[in-house]
Symmetry: C2
Subunit: 309 residues, 2 copies
């Protein structure tokens, strides 16, 4: 991580798909999904976003007009011959356990990220949950980014551990959920799990705990933020990616990667994620304003503040 740049652009590389989602509150069929759409919808509220992903010829490209209007660059969006990645899943009433009903990779199966020339100097890079080999392909194309952050999933932890650890050695920040951190480290304790991840190279670890908020661990210490207390989590899909989008978007909009700004970024990420889960797909993020986010940021202060001794 370096501390000087005059640009706030964020490169995101990840999936774009059609989701069929069923939650205790309803269902949504054939809606926009994938890490990239959630990340971009969130981050573009703060900074400029450059997208690298793939869709099939069945994707109406006007679906992304709302992102273009926020200055999202889609020059890196590949349109493959065939169908777009499709995912179907169902959440239990506790919204933590998710059953995958279908995963049709389609054009996503042969995806290799290719950065348009002007993306190569993006100062911020988010490697969403894709195969760790592909994450490294992105890093090889990026030129001296200020900050690189990665996500991952249980599939790569189980089946592609060596490659995953190599990606971890190359990035500044890792975000993953608590089950993944435990699986990766072989330790139930998140303190021990975080120390293990830091030992691999990253300077910052973000542990996403769903309804229990988020912990940020750096060599200097811990920061813990709660999740916003919602009456109903309508659809938790995309909460983690829109957290990452709010987090990195805010950081990209800051002059300085200080500890104060990292903490604020965690709260901004949590605030954006709390909106995401109020509706299906990116429906809430489409209409979300910075004013609403800032108001929720203030609510997080009221939620957590207590006086010194």
């Amino acid at each position: 991580m370096t501390n000087s740049s005059d640009s706030d652009e964020i490169l995101v590389v990840g999936s774009l798909d059609f989701d069929d989602v069923e939650t205790p509150f309803g269902r949504a069929d054939h809606v926009l999904g994938g890490s990239t759409i959630y990340f971009s919808a969130a981050a573009s509220l703060f900074a400029r976003v450059n997208v690298v992903s793939v869709v099939g010829s069945d994707m109406p490209l006007e679906a992304f007009d709302f992102l273009r209007e926020r200055g999202v660059d889609l020059a890196g969006l590949q349109v493959g011959e065939g169908k777009t990645f499709h995912w179907a899943g169902r959440y239990d009433y506790d919204l933590n356990s998710r059953e995958t009903l279908a995963t049709d990779l389609n054009v996503y199966a042969d995806f290799h990220p290719r950065l348009p020339a002007r993306y190569e100097s993006s100062p911020f890079v988010f490697l969403a949950n894709i195969h760790p080999d592909l994450q490294q392909e992105v890093l090889r194309q990026a030129r001296s980014p200020r900050l690189t952050m990665m996500d991952t999933m249980n599939l790569w932890i189980e089946n592609e551990r060596d490659s995953l650890l190599e990606t971890m050695r190359l990035v500044n920040m890792v975000c993953m959920n608590e089950e993944e951190a435990r699986q990766l480290s072989g330790s139930y304790s998140l303190v021990a799990a975080s120390r293990y991840i830091l030992s691999l190279g990253p300077r910052v670890v973000l542990i996403k705990k769903g309804e229990n908020g988020c912990a940020m661990i750096t060599p200097e210490g811990y920061f813990m933020a709660p999740a916003y207390p919602l009456e109903e989590v309508y659809d938790p899909t995309g909460a983690g990616d829109s957290f990452a989008g709010g987090f990195l978007g805010y950081l990209a909009s800051c002059g300085e990667l200080s500890d104060d700004n990292l903490r604020r970024a965690v709260v901004y990420g949590s605030a954006v994620a709390s909106f995401t889960v109020e509706r299906f797909s990116v429906d809430r993020l489409r209409e979300l304003s910075r004013t609403e986010i800032d108001e929720r940021y203030r609510e997080f202060r009221r939620l957590t503040l207590f006086e010194p001794l």
Copy 2:
């Protein structure tokens, strides 16, 4: 809740027992346990505590010398003919799921709380997890307490619901863990569960979330505190009761039951509980100092603080 008193005494009514505990880190046999011992050991670091409980003739009364030395009054401790309540349990590696191996009520089976005359005017009352009929027996003997708080458990929610709801109507504050709140309210959402509990009468609800901290809900809003990030939770037994002891102990030591003080009390409770789980039984609480607690309070500030916009 009233806001004026010149005394800081807390009455606690609950169990005292011998525990056999097995955790992934070791085992402890025939050690002091029960809600009352944890609550008293914690609260006595802040305020004067009056104990009502029962033990058998097999309990060496010098076991409580460390409490007497901190000014705990044991005049309300009944010594029954027979053996002391005995509990045996085992925790899984995740420390959340607990298997009960033995519950021998012994003298505790016939326990009825009797308050010594000088306890009747205790301004603070903690009704630990006992049968809700017994909790009401205590309330009938107490004379205009400033603040009453209750705990409960799944057994009473299932089998003694009417009596439990009656106790809830009579107290100012309720603390319970998140599973209990969900079970009681029939709602997975803790926002909905808390609103249900507030609708029964209490002004303050404390939802204990174990390693995920604690939420305090009042009609004015929410306050969320994390749990202290520990490398190892050696033995989670008594975390909830020592949380309650730190919480109510701090409040009893304050002049005023303001929102600021309630928030501080949640942090003090969380700080004390984080020490409890570092060792078996009340071993860590025996040697704990107010200086150590205050230092951990400051660490909670560093854990959670972020700057305003």
